[in-house]
Symmetry: C2
Subunit: 507 residues, 2 copies
């Protein structure tokens, strides 16, 4: 490489590191705000976030950065860059172009709109009053449509939004997989509703002290291979995992003493995210590649652990006695098989975040169809409550009593996050596809669970997925690991097998 190119590469990487440092400081501030920052300090902390975010925005849109990106994108120089620098340039350029194409004034207006819309949404949800929120949602949709024009689009406009969360994902692909899911899952949900072999679940709701739930959660975290020297467990209202850097990946959970599943499955879900972030290659530290490659792949890791590990009979064959030792005896008369059936109960419900494994994809599909209609069809914001209720009736057989538990239930749209929801369903499908391949590589999967030997599973995921960070795009990972593209059939098969067993259905 020319000496000049080398010099610019070094300077560029320094610059990128600086951006990384601001992101890391902000990640810590957010973690702190959610885990125990004293409430009287929050206003001033918000000012600090404002200062650091502005600085970050300036760094991400500066002429300095532009000139680095221009030079480093030249073909002659590209060839000589390290693979990490090359990917870093591509990643930064994508963000830079996105940011630059929106006029600064409109961007500012949009940020203010988001913040205002979120607080209006909160009130609207509380009062179950969609009319209150409607003008804000309309404006958010309108501005996003305008942004899509700035950014440019080939086929569907909605593809542009999908690509933000799941690079490479399109309406064409999703239409096919969701129609598959719809055709297969909806009938299964109905069949289960009519089953006469429903699991008993009363024992799930008996008192289980927070202290003991925490102790059990910690044992599970150790078992799956979470590194406590590179993380910690705290308590929050909404559980989350945050990868501040690969040596500092924190998880939180929440405790309900009348339903231990909230903490246990919440923790297992979050540790799936955390194992991803803890095991990204250290070579990527200080670059924007040092993070999960997409929302969907991230969710595939959390759902893999939550469902394929945590809701697996073999897992409980190993852990049930330990769990019992932390309780006051409510499971003493319950066999591990009956326990397994209970924690896999499926019941159509109104609220997405409380949905079970089987019905969850339907909640996502409803949101996907609505978003697609808003951006590519002729769906109007004002009609959303009606459409929402119709779809819930049709797919799940339940109808919200009001918009608070209906169309207003999620914060995503208030924050302007359109195109985000499909990632949740993609995560399910990816997880099922990965499981299929893992089963071939590790045929003793269930035996390992039964022995509490979970490290080979983690190592397989480290090797195939985690270490790459953003070095590979989501569909590239999927292709490299499974040899195919997105395929809903594995999830469908898994759900059929599992729920036929749990509900003793005739196949």
């Amino acid at each position: 490489m020319s000496i000049n190119g080398k010099e610019i590469e070094t300077k560029f990487l320094e610059y990128v590191k600086k951006i990384g440092a601001y992101n890391e400081a902000l990640a810590l501030i957010y973690w702190d705000l959610r885990t125990g920052a004293p409430k009287k300090g929050v206003n001033q902390r918000t000012e600090v976030i404002g200062v650091l975010s502005s600085e970050l925005f300036e760094l991400s849109t500066s002429e300095q950065l532009e000139s680095y990106l221009t030079v480093l994108s030249e073909e002659s120089i590209q060839m000589e860059l390290s693979p990490i620098t090359r990917k870093t340039v591509a990643e930064m350029k994508k963000d830079f172009d996105r940011n630059k194409k929106i006029p600064a004034q409109e961007y500012k207006e949009y940020v203010m709109l988001q913040s205002k819309a979120e607080s209006v949404w909160e009130e609207a949800k509380e009062k179950a009053d969609f009319a209150l929120f409607q003008p804000y949602l309309e404006k958010l949709v309108e501005m996003n449509k305008k942004f899509i024009e700035y950014w440019g689009h080939k086929n569907n406009k909605y593809d542009v939004l999908l690509d933000m969360y799941e690079p490479g994902m399109t309406v064409a692909v999703l239409d096919e997989v969701f129609s598959n899911v719809r055709d297969k899952i909806v009938p299964l949900v109905h069949k289960i509703a009519e089953s006469s072999h429903k699991p008993s679940t009363a024992f799930l709701y008996q008192h289980f002290s927070q202290e003991n739930q925490e102790a059990f959660s910690l044992e599970v975290l150790k078992q799956v291979g979470y590194d406590f020297d590179a993380g910690r467990l705290d308590q929050t209202v909404h559980p989350f995992a945050t990868g501040i850097n690969p040596g500092d990946v924190r998880i939180t959970t929440k405790y309900d003493e009348s339903d231990f599943r909230v903490a246990i499955f919440g923790t297992i879900h979050e540790v799936g995210h955390a194992l991803y972030e803890q095991n990204i290659s250290k070579d990527l530290i200080g670059t924007p590649l040092c993070s999960g490659t997409s929302m969907g792949i991230h969710e595939s890791q959390s759902l893999f652990y939550e469902n394929f590990v945590g809701r697996n009979l073999s897992f409980w064959k190993h852990n049930y006695e330990t769990l019992k030792s932390y309780t006051s005896g409510q499971f003493d008369q319950v066999s591990v098989e009956d326990f397994y059936r209970a924690i896999n109960e499926s019941k159509p419900s109104l609220i997405r975040i409380e949905a079970d494994e089987l019905t969850y994809p339907l909640h996502i599909m409803i949101r996907y169809e609505i978003e697609k209609g808003l951006f590519d069809g002729d769906l109007q914001v004002k009609d959303l409550p009606k459409i929402w209720n119709e779809k819930y009736q049709s797919y799940l057989g339940v109808v919200p009593e009001n918009d608070g538990e209906g169309v207003l239930q999620d914060v995503h749209w208030a924050g302007g996050s359109f195109g985000y929801f499909p990632s949740y369903a993609l995560g399910y499908m990816y997880a099922a596809q990965l499981k299929q391949v893992m089963q071939k590589d590790i045929p003793e999967f269930d035996d390992l669970l039964e022995q509490g030997q979970l490290l080979p599973i983690k190592e397989w995921l480290n090797e195939k997925i985690h270490r790459y960070g953003k070095m590979k795009k989501p569909l590239e990972i999927l292709k490299d690991v499974t040899g195919e593209g997105l395929n809903a059939q594995y999830l469908i098969d898994y759900l059929y097998n599992k729920y036929s067993d749990v509900y003793q259905l005739e196949q």
Copy 2:
């Protein structure tokens, strides 16, 4: 004010706010590092600290700032500035001038030296090997001498260093008060050593569970008026208080199950600092004035609570039964008076941070005399171990077995902090002076303690000291509250009265 002046004032205050935001982010990062950040993330966190600190240094030495300070220091504009802006300009200008006078290359070299010296000091202390540390200490002293030349000095060179921690403090003042302390305290220490009325203390060292120590500490924190909505209590190896902003002032403590005094008096000490930071006027948020005015005044608050409240018989008359209720009965046969004598035991010792109330000032005096000798006398670094040991023998009657528990015991010099130690002793003297005046304003002081009514005490300190932040200089506060300057006599009288009582000495 001219429109231009007004505009610059606004811009300047925005600029200052930005500096405040970086400081706040760094304060949070340091708190996190000390309270539970996963150890594998620390290296990368250090990079983040580096980026934010460099940015902060640039902001504090920029031409932009210089031009604001130049305009706002003009007499015609000064007159029209708000008092807060005026003080802010003075404060920023002082720092700016200090920073600017040192050539950038030397400053960088010094920062690297500090960091290297601290790690060498750690090893040297561990191995009790002064020779290892000596060249670094020599270099640190030499560079500080050079800096003093850059900054300029009137009388004593050491004054320049004192002024960094205690604005306005001088060798002339300290010589007088310390000679007073030496003449009065040393004989008292000797008298006590010969006393035949030594308190029994064996019961202090019986097992006291961490959980119960924490519960009791929390009760004390509530009693003194610590605002938990603007703070939290955590556990660390070295206790500290940090005012991240007035709405977020966190304290930490440490627990020793064989000596509950470590946690209890540590907590009471730190809450003295915290009450100061929690009660600074909200008007000062976002300016460099929003912090305690000096190390000495800060220490006066922590020592006021630790000694004048926490080691007071009346305080324990109220709290002793509660304390007992948290123990396994070790105090059941001990009267509150005997308990009081035990926690006020005085014994010459080698380690400053473990010293009692009476001997502590002597530890400080030794360090003061050595620092003064290094900068204004002909003391050589190589002679410090010998001088250290001679002074310990002469003032305290004890001699370290090795330099690890002698001259190498404190980190301060390794960090280049010369002139810092006297603040600790000043804090004692200030506290005694303040107590004297408070006693006049609140003659029922002891009754309030006995009733557990500590809020009037906090409010008095809020009113007289806390709210001002850095709006008043330390000696200005002292003068405004007590009507006089630094006067060691109050501390001496207090110690004489207290220890004559505890050791039943004839006066």
